[in-house]
Each structure stands twice: as C-alpha cells, then as structure tokens.
Symmetry: C2
C-alpha cells in the first residue's frame, strides 16, 4: 500500500517537472491524504521535483499531541513536525534557494494570507499555481480505492436496510438521521461521509434538506440520503419511500418518473460519454414532464476521498467519462408544499466488456411502502 503513495507522488512529480516547477506544495487535505496516506489535520506535503525528496510537514497540534516525528520508511517520505506556525511556511523555508527556484502551490486552497507568508520566507522563490493537478489525478481510481468505496457502499446499504425494518411513523427527521449515522459506525464506518439527510412529507425530495423536528406521518414521502466514510473514501446512497400501506397515484407517478430518469442516467455511464450527456440523459425525462424549473444544477458528481469531487454531471460540464471513475447519479423532483422523490446511487464507470457500470449501492429502488 505504501508503494501506492510513492507511485502517486511520482506521477505528480512528472507533471511538475514537465511544467518546469522545482517543487510543489500540496495543502488541500484530501490531496495530502491521497499522496502521503493518512496525515494529521493541517499537514502539508512538500514534493521535491528536482531532488525527489518529499516531506510531510505536520502542525504541532494545540492539543499537546505532537505530530509523530519519525521519518516514515513505509511512506518513503520524511515526516517533520513543525513546532510553531504554518506548515506551509515551514515547507517553503526548507527549500534550498540554489536548487529550488519555482514552487507550485494550490491557489484554490491556499488563502491570500498564507500565500503571502510563504512568499515572505522565501522572497526569491517564484510561486506558481499547481491548480487542480492532484484532483485530476484523483479522478480515476485504482482497484484499491474502488474496493474501499465498495465497502463504504456495503455499510451504507446495511445501515439503510436496518432503518427500513424499524418503526418510522412518529419519529423525527433529526432522530432518524442520527440513528442512521450510528448504524453506519456500528457497521465499521469511520463516520458519516456527509451530513445525513432525512426529509419527510413536504420536505421530501430536497437533497439539501437538513433534518428537522418534523415527525414521519402516514402518507408521507420519506427521502433519505446517507453515506459511509470508510478509510477516507466516501460514497452516497439516496432512496425515497412511502409511509403507509398504499401510495397515492401522484406519488406513484412521480416516483416512476424519477426512477426512469435515474435509470437513464445510470445507463449513460460508459467510458467516453461526455459528462453533460450523462446529465442530459437523467435531466431530459424530468424536463419533458414539466419539472425543468426547480431541478438541481447537476444530476451527479464524482466521489472518493471527498464526497464531492470531479467530475460534475451538469449541463455545462466539460470532459468525458473514463473507466474506473466513481460517480453518483441522483436526479430528484421536489414539489413545493407536497414533497418529492430523489434516487441516488454510487456507481463505478466500467467498459461494456466488463459488464458496464458497477452499481455499488444495491438497496432496492422499487417503491417501498413502509
């Protein structure tokens, strides 16, 4: 496994030397984790391009647990606790002005103040922009990463499955969300991948809904969205159910529509398909049915070390799917005052030859009446 991190850093090193930068400073936490393995909060990675020497700089935590200082043979990089101040500044300070003239930093993560502090300790250093190079490298996952996502999805399915067997009527959105998060951990998650959303009745179908004190009632739509964080990898599942013996006609019709849209999106997940075409496949059925107005800006997104990664499945997104890219497909319709339906899966793009898209979240998508 430690091999993996060295290889990833090697690929970034090649990119940097091609771009003519002598060193790179990686500060975005998920990027640091991707390149150096688990790192304490606030740690930054200094990637030596010319000298091939990589250093993980860890902040001295204010909790009195000093970052562990031993050079990490496994990770093939030296781990340096920075007793005071900003590890990013300490990193720039490490560079030898004779050999390192250009340092690429993550301008989309580093604040203006930190950027200035880095410059001030190394005034002769030319600061360049690393851009989203590491994010781009993270987009296509290796099988090791996908197996972590597969476990995260299994855990999420288990937690959701258990909830469906419990009594729901009368309980609040807030408590159902907390119970789901507890079950995620029961089944081995490091924690929830994101804030669990439970939406009932008029709230149902709103993906961004924050659990309230509203209680589940007979006849409600109940939409749930959760995901496990397993070893840093985060997946997402969303389902909508009906509470009570028999759904109303409008509920059945709306569910069938969203289900068809979500299936169309899933079926569009083949290598080489443009992101926007996947979005269109999931979006068009909803637009044709007259729900174009309130639709979300996108119908899916990549997942991995962050719950919201490239690619974005949206009308204006540029680029094409590759194999081994995990994405969500999550169209939904919300009718103000009445509620709505969302169906959300995490899948991995696979070539037809390998059986097409691999569905990670396998909980049934038929309309269950609970």
């Amino acid at each position: 496994m430690s091999e993996v991190f060295a290889v990833r850093r090697g690929r970034l090193r090649d990119r940097c030397s091609a771009a003519g930068t002598d060193a790179a400073l990686v500060s975005l936490p998920a990027n640091v984790r991707y390149l150096a393995g688990g790192a304490p909060p606030g740690a930054v990675l200094l990637l030596g391009v010319a000298d091939q020497r990589d250093v993980l700089l860890c902040p001295r935590t204010s909790t009195g647990d000093p970052a562990d200082g031993r050079p990490d043979e496994q990770l093939r990089l030296s781990v340096l606790p920075t007793t005071t101040g900003d590890p990013a500044v300490a990193a720039a300070d490490l560079l030898d002005p004779a050999t390192a003239r250009t340092l690429a930093v993550e301008e989309h993560h580093l604040t203006v103040a930190r950027h200035r502090a880095v410059r001030s300790v190394a005034p002769r250093l030319r600061l360049a922009d690393l851009g989203r190079s590491v994010e781009q490298q993270r987009r296509v996952k290796d099988e090791e990463e996908i197996s972590q996502l597969r476990i995260a999805a299994e855990i999420s399915d288990q937690a959701l499955g258990e909830l469906l067997e419990s009594i729901l009527v009368g309980r609040t959105e807030r408590h159902l969300a907390l119970e789901l998060e507890r079950r995620l951990v029961d089944h081995g998650a490091d924690g929830p991948a994101f804030r669990t959303s439970v939406a009932t009745g008029p709230n149902s179908g709103r993906a961004g809904h924050r659990p309230s004190d509203r209680r589940v009632e007979e006849g409600d739509f109940l939409s749930v969205r959760l995901g496990a964080n397993y070893h840093g990898y985060r997946c997402e599942i969303g389902r909508t159910f009906v509470i009570g013996s028999s759904p109303a006609d409008w509920q059945i019709d709306l569910y069938d529509l969203v289900f068809a849209a979500q299936r169309a999106g899933r079926e569009a997940l083949t290598p080489g398909t443009a992101y926007r075409d996947v979005d269109r496949a999931a979006r068009r059925p909803l637009e044709s049915a007259g729900y174009g107005e309130g639709l979300a800006a996108r119908t899916g997104h990549g997942v991995g070390l962050e719950i919201d990664e490239d690619p974005q499945l949206a009308p204006t997104a540029m680029g094409k799917l590759d194999a081994c890219v995990p994405v969500t497909v999550e169209p939904g319709v919300h009718l103000p005052g009445r509620g709505g339906v969302r169906i959300d899966d995490t899948l991995v793009v696979r070539p037809e030859a390998d059986g097409g898209p691999e569905l990670l979240t396998i909980t049934t998508k038929e309309l269950l009446a609970l």
Copy 2:
C-alpha cells in the same frame, strides 16, 4: 434581534470608513452569520460603507434549492441569489466603480484563486485586507450571545449527566461519543459543537483523541469532551472519571494536580488580566510537578460562533481579557501508556463586582468513580 445585526454592521462600517475603504466583503462563514444572521453555506456579505447599502449574496445551491431571494426587511439588507459562480465575484461585480474604489476582503479566508477572480471582474478596484476585524468585534459577546452559550452549556451538562448514569464498562469510545452526540440533539442542540472526544485507559487525557474501538475497562481513566451547538453558539465541557469502585493513588494524585491547575486558571479570569497570565496560572502547577514537556500549546481559548476563537490562552498570546468574553480553561496531563486527566470548562469573564467569572458548564469536577 434583527436590530442587533444592523448595529454590528454599523460598527464594522465605522471601522472601514476610518480605514478609508469604500466597501467590505465578508466571506468567513462565522463572520457572515455574525453580521447578517443565519445565511446559507457559501453566502458572502457585501458591506457598503459609503452608500450604507448591505447585500447578502447567496450561492445557488447545487441541490436545486435556490437561495431565498426576497430582500430581508428584518435584517435590513437585501438578499441576492447568485445564479452562477462565486458570490464573492458577484459581490465585486455589484460595486459601482464611480463610488467604490477600495474593497476590503478577508485575506485570511479568501483563497488566492478567488481573490484573483474578484480582481478580474473589477480591475479598477483596489483590494485591501479587512484582516480579522470581524473576529475582533466578535470577541466580546453581548448578553443575547451569552444566553445562547448558557443554553448550549446546559444542554452539554444534561447530555454528560445522562451518560454518567448509564453502564460504561465494555462499551467502545466510538459508541459513547455517538451516544453523547445523540443526547445533545435530544436536548435541543442543533448538533455537536465539535467532534466529541471519548478517551479511555491509555488514551485518556489526550484532548485531540479521536474515539476508537477500545472498550471501557475497570480501573480506566475515562476522559470525555463534548459541547453543544445552540443557534450557532458553541461551548465545551471536558471531564475525567475513574471506572470502578476505587481509583489508584496515582490517579487521585494526578487528578488533584490537574484540578488545582484548572481552578487556578479559572480564578485568573478577571477583566484586565493578560491572556498569557491566565495560561501561566493554569500551566505553572503542572510544570512544577514535572509535566512541562507534553503540555498543550495553550490552556484555553475563546468560544462563540466558532468553537475556537480569539483569545488564545497561551504563553506567547498578546492582549488582556475583557468582561463578557467567554473562554475555555482546559489544562490536562497525559502520561504515555498510562493515560491522564483533562478538565475543561466554559466560563464568561465578569468583573469581581458582578461575582467574578461566570461558570457555564456546571457538571461537578470532583473525581467520580463510576
């Protein structure tokens, strides 16, 4: 209440006009909330200095819930949904180049990339640094804010009190932490103020400890740290207990020492006392006892809309306490391999005439054997 936000913005406006800036862009979420009330994630506040016109710019959420677009009479500012892109950029775009020549931004929060994007839409605009002006304004709380903190502390005491009545032996740190967070919400918290820490046996006394699968055992020290988020205001309480009928002598001695240090810190909380003197009061007893080495970089910090605010109670901190500043006092000692003790309270600095420091977290600090 809405009055309050207008008054806060007025104070910031005065600061800005004194500094000669024509407008200020507030992007740090806690600062936006402080000045504009509850705002959707990613919202930014444009403070008009010359024209006195304030605008809250909300991102179009990717979830399809458009930010609510009506001008907010109550808040006395106009709320503007920004359909696409970065609200900070949209804000700069709103400014009239004729009247607004200088815009102060939060350089400690805005990334280099966003800063460049802001500049590019308003090239003639001079960008200045607002610095931590809003954070400084937030340091001293009004009675409304303190009453929110008081409720947050009550909720935290209740959640902790219930845990003490339950069976602990055999349960994992992870589950105890989750149960505490559930109880916080049961008692009306919007959520935990920070990730709850439960540390048993050799882990005990480490403030930064992340709950593991270790189970509570007879004879363990059990240290717990939690806090409620109530209407955005966050407090903190930490206690250490002994599991089993009778604590060992070393446990009693260590507990008495940390208790004395924490009391000394609490008693130093008077208006006009230097931050570093409060830290020294809590730190010296531990140093005298020979535990100077592994001590945390600080023994307390401010709390409010963020769990970690100014002031810092640390050896190198500059500044003096004011009345109505809520802070934590949280010294601790951790003996590698054996465990340790932390005691953590949230208090509000009050003049002697008003009875001295107001203790918000009132759970007993005598050494309980559970």
